[in-house]
Amino acid sequence: MVEAQNWNAVIEGQEFILTEEMDSQRLVVWAAASGDFYQIHYDDDFAKGNNLPDIIVHGALKGMLVGRLLDEICGTEGRIKNWGVSYRGMDPARHDLTIHATVTKKYEEDGEKLLDLEVGVKQDDGSTETTPGTATVALPA
């Protein structure tokens, strides 16, 4: 879990990271939570029959993991203004994923203390970015 941040203490370039295990059970829990029951996410034979190397992590789950990282950065006093990600690549299950956010701009606007961030999800080789995106959050001073 990432600690809640205070705007005054954050610096541009600062990075926040979560590492999450993506086993098959987790994908089944996500299927129940989201209503996405497409078999490529939990049925080994179905996934391989569709030329996939393994069952794959739901794109929407990766987007919501980014949302969780931002929620933890905001804590109870901050607020997510918006976030978005693109699904550029598939992530096979049974590998850890790294969810990351880097502060690209720290500024004030309309009385709010804001951060813009680059966000994304990388595979456990540490280099393959499959889910790049951006976000804006408001933090307490």
Binding site: M1, L18, E20, R26, V29, W30, A32, A33, S34, G35, G59, A60, L61, G63, M64, L65, G67, R68, L70, D71, E72, T76, R79, I80, K81, N82, W83, G84, V85, S86, Y87, G133
Partner: protein, 157 residues
């Protein structure tokens, strides 16, 4: 080549047409299941007493969780903007979320979607592809407030 990449009139007509409202139910079970799947450990998403001690009336919804459509196998699916597509395969291209108001367990949200843009593009992998951009606005039924907007990109090939 350019003629092949033009949208059909059917596709053009689908842009900006709103679908029927779809009701989404936000429940304590749904919030806890979502929070578990995403890995939240903050007790406000699991324990109502902790949520109330934090100033919430009940379990708050984690960012991006807008409930589940109310499923009834005996009702016809709601009418959504659609068009005849020459493509059979679809990919989820991306998602943007704009939380506006805090959502809570017990809320019923009315979601209205529309296609905001369609683009036919050449693709190195697929020959050509159709990029569909859409927006959904979620309105809480009890007070009429817009609680969130989401945008999505879909790729058909």
């Amino acid at each position: 080549m350019s003629e092949e990449l033009e949208l059909t009139q059917d596709m053009k007509d689908a842009i900006d047409r709103e679908g029927d409202p779809v009701l989404y139910e936000v429940t304590t079970l749904g919030i806890r299941t979502f929070a578990r799947a995403v890995g939240y450990t903050n007790e406000i998403y699991y324990d109502e007493d902790v949520a109330k001690a934090g100033g919430h009336p009940t379990l708050p919804s984690p960012p991006g969780y807008l409930g589940m459509p109310i499923w009834d196998p005996n009702k016809a699916p709601s009418r959504q903007p659609t068009f005849n597509s020459p493509f059979t395969r679809n990919l989820n291209g991306g998602t943007q979320v704009q939380p506006i108001e805090q959502v809570y367990a017990g809320d019923i949200l009315s979601a209205v979607s529309r296609i905001t843009n369609l683009t036919m593009s050449p693709s190195r992998s697929f020959g050509k592809m159709l990029i569909r951009e859409s927006e959904t606005v979620y309105t809480r039924q009890s007070d009429g407030k817009v609680v969130a907007k989401t945008q999505g990109q879909g790729i058909s090939y």
